[in-house]
Symmetry: C2
Subunit: 482 residues, 2 copies
């Protein structure tokens, strides 16, 4: 096959040269069978390549769904909701009930149905309120315009559209409006323009507005009910678990970073794949500000569900997230120590290894405990003890750092001077330079410990405002220690 | 006035008590004048409060516009575009030309017109393509359904809506589709559902689809032209200047952080307001990942404009942004050194101050130079020299750190031993502990210098791919040094 192809390729290249030379097309005729074969092979190759790409794409897409089956569920929900709303078209009584405006119900479902309940509610409520407000306003403006004669009517309508559209567009630049009513403002402009403009033509304005509102309410109600009843995905819950996941990741990263720094075989810091995966885990905390903000915005709209009340202090989750990111920034700097060129000598490392490991394990334990506190929504009885333990270990690390000087400066008898005098000399056994990476590693760890305390405070605030349950195993004796 | 109010307040509270006691309403009658006054005053207070709030809100909103007048311009553009598209309604020939479907043009303008050209193009092109694709598909499905008898028709239509809507919704979870075609997928589902469902009722399906497509094209064309011609705001340019601004901010932060650390009056690190503002400037680089991603996504759709070609390597701006964020993480850690409890003794600080300042000023100069490179899109002839200078200064700081040991360990003759022997003792003049904050500060600076080199590489890559102009003042003599 490949031989044939090569041959045909060669002969045709000769063909082409001749063709170019003579500029005629007839010469291709005797070779047409070969050409067709070649074309066919090329086409086959292209198709195979394309199929492979499509296959890969679908494999990846399938993996996304398998990793989080709720995504499949959401797609089915959307399909079902759309089919239900389509019934308005297929069933004549329903269709005539809304005067042929069933199209708006379908449109509403497509546009309003989002992945999380919060987002769906946000869009639904925004759509209903904005439609009502804009509708009434437009009818009012239309009435005023109709009173002022046919000459001024288009002018008044045009001016009102211009002014309100500009003002509403501007309001989107205001952060509060952007966060809570962005979609509503769009719908406001849309409805106002549609009603006030089409009011110029359509006679039965009020009736139309009435039917349109009814269809929108039908559509949004369907979406809200489906979103809340069928396999609901709550934005608040997502935020809750995102923060918890990120906490676990940051704590894992911290652990494996310190373990990696002090481990004996330093040939390749990435030798262990699981470890290197843990090392990078903190990055997900660094990059999740955007999704945290978005989810907190949506969670605001959600009714009480599961462990969360209607006015759950979602804003405080953002503060916890920010405190966690603060820790992650430091871990980022800590991580770069792993790849530093100058390595500290082993005996100095051993001197600090225990204290450093204790600080890091205490820090990461506290982060894990806080994650557990948020997860169970139950205050931990041990958190204060853990903080004390962390402070103690930081103190110990401080002392170890202090005693580092005695380790570095050894008194020894100079060899050149052998008389039995008590003369001694203090010399540095290692250059200070070699110790610097280790010292900065240790002081970063101390900084992280400080930031972990900031995280403890943030979680404390959240626990207060969200009325976390008191610790189950809290004993009066232990309490008095706090 | 306040006396009267107080008196009326007291008397009415007596009244209320009596009222509660007796449960009758008549007793209010003699006091009704006072009550009305009180109510009026309370109402007045409420209204005043509300007015104040509204006033403040408008002041803030006005400030947003004054700070960036392009926002005002955008609002006026939207107003004008909407008025122009409304003409379709007011002018009978135009109105009849699109068969009463002018409503879709208005809707398109409202939904598609965005702040940046890129976003407008993204939505416009997505809308047109998705509408075409979904329209053809829906008509095809409708034809198949109509061939299969009245019994199967609704079933086939319903099943197709369910399947396609579910699949399209799922495709939104795929990152590539989400980034480039999110809006298109929504419009696809919308159009497919509308056409295939309303096809069951509306007889002149093809004609309707034709008119609808025409109105959408009219709307999007109007938006695209307005966005590109009237005071255009290019997403690419925004991204370009955002990166440059962030670079300047990071470099300012670095400078003022180091200046703050070594300045003599350490009473209050925030005493100077301008300085403290600079100190926090780097945070804007930390938090701009989301907007950078969004703008790079939109910039992809923009035609050549200003200095940028159609295929400008926007992706590489993201890499520059990531490298810059890498520097900012370290500056964050550096910043926390300012608030450390242990302060290093002044004479040690003075020993390192010059070297540290040189490293930081060299680093920040390089960042500023890179910002200038991107701004003018002209390669800098000095960047290689600057990097060499930076490396030299890092080397110097390394050496200063090394010589720190000689500073710390002073040889002195013990006082107790006064004989003229050459016996000397080495003692640490300061505890190593006190030097640690300074040492970690210095090693963070060295780490930042390393990351600045990463930034240089990222900008270099961008310069290569975006065909930055060669340096204007590049001399052959200088070139040979590189």
């Amino acid at each position: 096959m490949s031989n044939t192809k090569e041959a045909s390729g060669m002969s045709s290249s000769v063909e082409w040269r001749i063709q170019v030379g003579e500029g005629s097309k007839e010469i291709l005729v005797p070779e047409s069978k070969n050409s067709v074969l070649r074309l066919f092979a090329a086409l086959k190759g292209l198709i195979m390549k394309f199929m492979l790409k499509v296959c890969n794409f679908f494999k990846k897409a399938w993996k996304i769904g398998v990793d989080d089956p709720r995504k499949f569920a959401h797609c089915l929900r959307v399909g079902v909701a759309l089919c239900v709303v389509s019934l308005f078209y297929y069933m004549r009584p329903l269709y005539e009930g809304v005067g042929g405006n069933a199209i708006w119900a379908v449109m509403t479902v497509v546009v309003v149905f989002e992945y999380t309940v919060g987002a769906t509610l946000y869009k639904s409520l925004n759509r209903i309120c904005a439609t009502c407000l804009a509708g009434f306003l437009a009818i009012g403006v239309h009435w005023v315009a109709s009173q002022s004669g046919t000459k001024f009517e288009p002018l008044i309508l045009g001016a009102s559209v211009f002014l309100l559209a500009s003002a509403a567009t501007f309001s989107k630049f205001i952060p509060v409006v952007k966060a809570r009513f962005d979609y509503g403002v769009t719908i406001f402009i849309l409805t106002f323009s549609l009603v006030s403009v089409s009011g110029y033509r359509v006679e039965k304005l009020l009736e139309m507005a009435n039917q349109r509102l009814a269809t929108i309410i039908i559509g949004t109600a369907l979406c809200m009910v489906t979103a809340m009843v069928v396999y609901p995905i709550w934005a608040g819950e997502e935020l809750h678990f995102l923060i918890i996941r990120n906490m676990d990741k940051v704590s894992d990263s911290l652990d494996s970073c310190v373990a990696d720094y002090f481990k004996e075989d330093k040939a390749n810091p990435n030798s262990d794949e699981a470890c290197s995966k843990n090392l990078e885990a903190y990055k997900s905390a660094l990059n999740s500000k955007g999704s945290e903000d978005a989810m907190a915005n949506f969670a605001r709209w959600e009714p009480a569900h599961g462990l969360f009340t209607f006015n759950h202090p979602w804003k405080y989750y953002l503060k916890v997230g920010a405190a966690l990111r603060n820790c992650a920034y430091c871990i980022e700097a800590l991580n770069s120590c792993l790849y530093s060129d100058t390595k500290s000598p082993d005996f100095v490392k051993i001197h600090l290894a225990d204290a450093c490991s204790t600080v890091s394990s205490n820090s990461s334990e506290i982060i894990k405990e806080l994650a557990q506190t948020i997860k169970t929504m139950t205050r931990s009885s041990q958190i204060d003890m853990s903080v004390i333990k962390l402070n103690d270990s930081v103190q110990l690390l401080h002392e170890n750092l202090k005693s580092l000087s005695t380790l570095l400066i050894q008194e020894k008898v100079p060899e050149s001077n052998t008389n039995e005098n008590e003369r001694k000399e203090s010399v540095l056994t290692v250059s200070l330079m070699d110790v610097i990476p280790l010292v900065s590693f240790a002081s970063l760890l101390i900084e992280i410990a400080g930031r972990v305390e900031g995280l403890v405070e943030a979680v404390e605030d959240l626990a207060k405002l969200a009325n976390f349950k008191p610790a189950a195993d809290e004993k009066p004796g232990l309490k008095s220690i706090d």
